[in-house]
């Protein structure tokens, strides 16, 4: 992950993918609070430009302009849970998701994981966690052949499968105060 130090303080580089906009570039990231907001409502960034591009190719080119933009920013992660590289943070994160699920269940409520994350994003903010760094498995929904993270291709039960070796890391930041120098990085990509 790219880090930048300004006045002895370290920031994490993040990449935010959006549809290309003819009306001009954004001056701040767009809060994601729809179904793709896995960790609840917040500002989502990829830590790798590669995955920001894949996200654009797969999900941001199906509108009338047919292109996507990538913005870069520096993110203050001092008060973020780093569930990717910090073992304590990871187990803390997991344990508290389980706690919340159990609390819903013990009170007779059925809840999806997405709902739990929605619920938790409000609690994280209240207790002073400003964001979460996490990773999931890379995906290649359109089976594009040029994806560098799918280097090992193998067949199982007559199906082609892929071995992914790169963590697909994202960061969700719950408010704009932790995001600096947001600017257009790559324009009109397709």
């Amino acid at each position: 992950m790219e880090r930048k130090t300004v006045n002895n303080k370290e920031y994490l580089a993040g990449y935010h993918t959006q549809e290309f906009r003819v009306e001009g570039e954004l001056d701040h990231p767009i809060r994601c609070d729809y179904k793709n907001a896995w960790l609840g409502s917040g500002y989502y960034f990829w830590t790798d430009i590669e995955f920001a591009q894949y996200w654009g190719e797969d999900f941001k080119v199906h509108h009338k302009e047919g292109c996507y933009d990538i913005y870069s920013a520096e993110i203050d992660t001092e008060k973020c849970l780093n569930a990717v590289f910090n073992e304590q943070h990871y187990f803390f994160f997991r344990r508290h998701i389980d706690k919340a699920i159990n609390h819903f269940r013990q009170n007779g409520q059925k809840v999806t994981l997405k709902r739990v994350h929605d619920f938790l994003s409000e609690i994280w903010e209240q207790i002073g966690v400003t964001g979460i760094i996490y990773d999931d498995l890379p995906a290649n929904p359109k089976n594009k052949p040029n994806r560098k993270y799918s280097v090992v291709e193998y067949e199982e039960n007559r199906k082609v499968k892929f071995l992914y070796y790169k963590k697909r890391i994202q960061i969700v930041v719950f408010n704009l105060n932790e995001i600096y120098n947001f600017s257009l990085f790559l324009e009109e990509q397709s």
């Binding site: 609070d33 729809y34 179904k35 509108h63 001092e78 008060k79 849970l81 304590q88 943070h89 803390f92 508290h96 706690k99 919340a100 609390h103 819903f104 009170n107 007779g108 409520q109 809840v111 709902r115 929605d118 619920f119 609690i123 209240q126 207790i127 002073g128 966690v129």
Partner: protein, 81 residues
């Protein structure tokens, strides 16, 4: 630097303050908010019609639902959806 012990204390305090009724209300609110957001995205042209589920209650029965009907969106209608 996060103080995980202190975070845990605060987290538990907030989580366990939610009663059964609070959780029910929160889930209902979240469901309504999501429906509203889907409808808004549809109206902005960002979602195909088949993704938008529209529920019709007796109180708000309006006959055939049409795109024109959705364009005449108002808060009462959203409440029913």
């Amino acid at each position: 630097m996060l103080d995980l012990k202190e975070l845990e204390r605060k987290f538990d305090e907030i989580l366990y303050s939610f009663t059964r009724e609070d959780l029910e209300n929160w889930l209902r609110f979240a469901e309504e908010r999501e429906q509203r957001e889907r409808l808004e995205k549809f109206l902005e042209g960002n979602l195909p019609l088949n993704i938008v589920s529209v529920k019709i209650s007796q109180r708000n029965f309006v006959g055939d639902i049409s795109i024109q009907g959705l364009d005449n969106y108002n808060p009462d209608y959203a409440e029913a959806a």
